[in-house]
């Protein structure tokens, strides 16, 4: 297999590595789905996948086509109604990591999947919360995966669907939001984390051959860089094989 990789493949592999050591991940729709399945098939075979559709301990035989695909049910540890899933798993505090996508995410990690523009009269109507609002509130850690662009990274989102660190600093803690909030944002150009004090996003890792200028050009505010900016490790041959042969042979997510 060729060792060349696409930026999406790098992003997916880097995101999956964030799940190392996690026990239970709540899997969001879209990119998070391939990321969590890659983690389970590579370095984290014991990772328990939870789908809001009502599944704990999924071992999908194929990449689920949606987050309610029958393949997440067959062979799972437990399949239940959504009432139990939301109350006894998520609200109970059993989920280590929630993995979300984002149409817009701002400098404090607040996520918008509701509207671009005004709520009552939107320029673009997005799908809405799904389970993201409560995942963002209740999971201990939140990881976000989305492609970097000025449109997706405005200084302030038009609508907070899923709260991140709100206005930054201790805003989230002051409101008694239970979970720890966003921890990392994995993009196709870099990885961003949140400053301990201000809770503002910082670039902590650049993907190989990506410059600071490229990153800044795709973010809607003057982005800060960590004191030490790492270079994101490239995907391993095994990761690429899993993505290309098992998870996304059509390349819908990864080309």
């Amino acid at each position: 297999m060729a060792s060349a990789y696409s930026q999406n493949e790098l992003m997916i592999a880097a995101a999956a590595r964030e799940l190392q050591g996690a026990r239970v991940a709540f899997v969001g729709v879209g990119l998070p789905n391939i990321v969590c399945n890659l983690a389970q098939r590579s370095h984290s075979p014991a990772l328990e996948l939870v789908y809001e559709a009502g599944v704990f301990g999924a071992h999908p035989a194929r990449l689920p086509l949606s987050i309610g695909d029958p393949t997440i049910v067959t062979g799972s540890a437990s399949t239940m109604g959504m009432s139990d899933l939301f109350q006894f798993y998520l609200q109970r505090g059993l989920i280590d990591v929630g993995f979300l996508g984002a149409a817009q995410i701002d400098r404090f990690g607040n996520i918008n999947t509701t509207v671009i523009g005004n709520y009552a009269n939107p320029r673009v109507r997005l799908p809405g919360s799904g389970g993201a609002a409560e995942i963002a509130v209740l999971c201990r850690r939140i990881l976000v995966i989305t492609r970097l662009s000025k449109r997706a990274f405005p200084p302030r989102v038009d609508f907070i669907t899923s709260p991140g660190h709100l206005d930054g600093g201790d805003a989230r803690a002051k409101l008694n939001v239970p979970g720890g909030g966003p921890e990392a944002v994995i993009t196709d150009l870099c990885i961003l984390r949140f400053a301990d004090d201000t809770r503002e996003m910082l670039v902590t890792s650049l993907h190989p051959n990506v410059t600071r200028e490229q990153v800044q050009a795709n973010i809607g505010w003057d982005v800060r860089f960590a004191d030490e900016v790492a270079t994101t490790p490239v995907p391993t041959a095994r990761e690429l094989e899993l993505i290309r042969l098992e998870l996304d042979p059509q390349g819908l997510y990864s080309r």
Partner: protein, 303 residues
């Protein structure tokens, strides 16, 4: 006692213009057969409730059936946007669409409150989200047992719920396996219930495994048998999701003209679900899964 009847009769008699209707099923067991019959009978001014409006309500919105949407995620799962939904919200076509919007957990909680006849249901969500700013049904109250505050939502009690399932007996006792979504809660929450099943079975089959009965006949008004009635969504153990169709819908629905042509061909132009299944036959047969049987368990005979 429920009637075992046709979808034509069930929709004609139990769904009225202006009703609040929930066709539920979370990615699984989505009763497209009922949606098409509602479109075909040109019902109007419906308030449609569903966690995920999905293609099914996209079609109903495009057909002009829907006045208001109660929902929590309006996307084409795994594909992208719902085009008819967006045209209705962004441009008011073919008619303006009122929105009553939640997160999944919030709407699940509304169904639980409705099913349990509670005046509200508490959930730990929404703190810091803008959703409560645009929906007065998301309120925060104080616990009487300490300092905790908690959000609450009001009950949802549709006039009619339409629920697809694997099987029922003629008394309406209905069994589901795989993802149950909110089928049970939506059924108990609603004033009238239509159950659409892949298979009608003897009461003895249901009673041989009573733990799988999620909807009792007691609350069911009509039982309809429609094999493949959930296509292009899926039924655990019976058929797979027709993913290609979900992708095709993105193209079909981009223009009003192509969408209407599709409705003409596949809904208005067909007499009933049997005609749809006949026309779709070759495609359907490819959706059969392999077998994965649950081992039988023993309830024991106690005389």
């Amino acid at each position: 006692m429920p009637q075992v009847t046709t979808l034509h009769h069930a929709i004609r008699d139990l769904v009225h213009d202006g009703d609040t209707v929930a066709i539920e099923g979370f990615t699984h067991l989505i009763c497209f057969a009922a949606a098409h019959e509602i479109i075909r009978q040109r019902k109007r001014d419906l308030t449609l409730c569903r966690l995920t409006p999905d293609m099914i309500y996209d079609q109903m919105i495009a057909a002009g059936v829907c006045k208001k949407l109660v929902f929590s995620y309006a996307g084409n799962p795994g594909v992208g946007s719902l085009q008819a939904f967006r045209r209705a919200v962004e441009k008011g076509e073919p008619r303006p669409l009122e929105l009553d919007e939640y997160s999944h957990f919030g709407l699940v909680a509304r169904y639980i409150a409705g099913a349990a006849r509670l005046p509200f249901y508490p959930l730990n969500s929404y703190t810091g989200s803008d959703l409560p700013k645009v929906n007065p049904n998301l309120r925060q109250i104080q616990s009487p047992f300490g300092d905790d505050k908690i959000h609450v939502v009001p009950p949802l009690n549709p006039d009619v719920a339409i629920l697809h399932a694997q099987r029922a007996d003629e008394n309406g006792n209905t069994q589901i396996w795989g993802l149950a979504g909110v089928q049970k809660e939506a059924a108990f929450a609603s004033k009238r219930v239509i159950v659409v099943v892949e298979e009608l079975v003897a009461a003895s089959v249901i009673r041989a495994d009573p733990n799988r009965t999620l909807i009792p006949g007691l609350i069911v008004d009509a039982v309809v048998v429609e094999p493949w009635g959930a296509h292009p969504s899926y039924v655990q153990g019976a058929y797979d999701r027709d993913n290609a169709f979900y992708v095709e819908w993105d193209t079909i629905s981009r223009e009003t003209a192509t969408l209407n042509a599709w409705l003409d061909e596949w809904v208005y132009g067909l007499a009933d679900r049997a005609a749809y299944v006949q026309k779709m036959r070759d495609r359907l047969e490819q959706l059969r899964p392999g077998d994965a049987f649950a081992a039988p368990i023993n309830y024991g005979e106690y005389k």
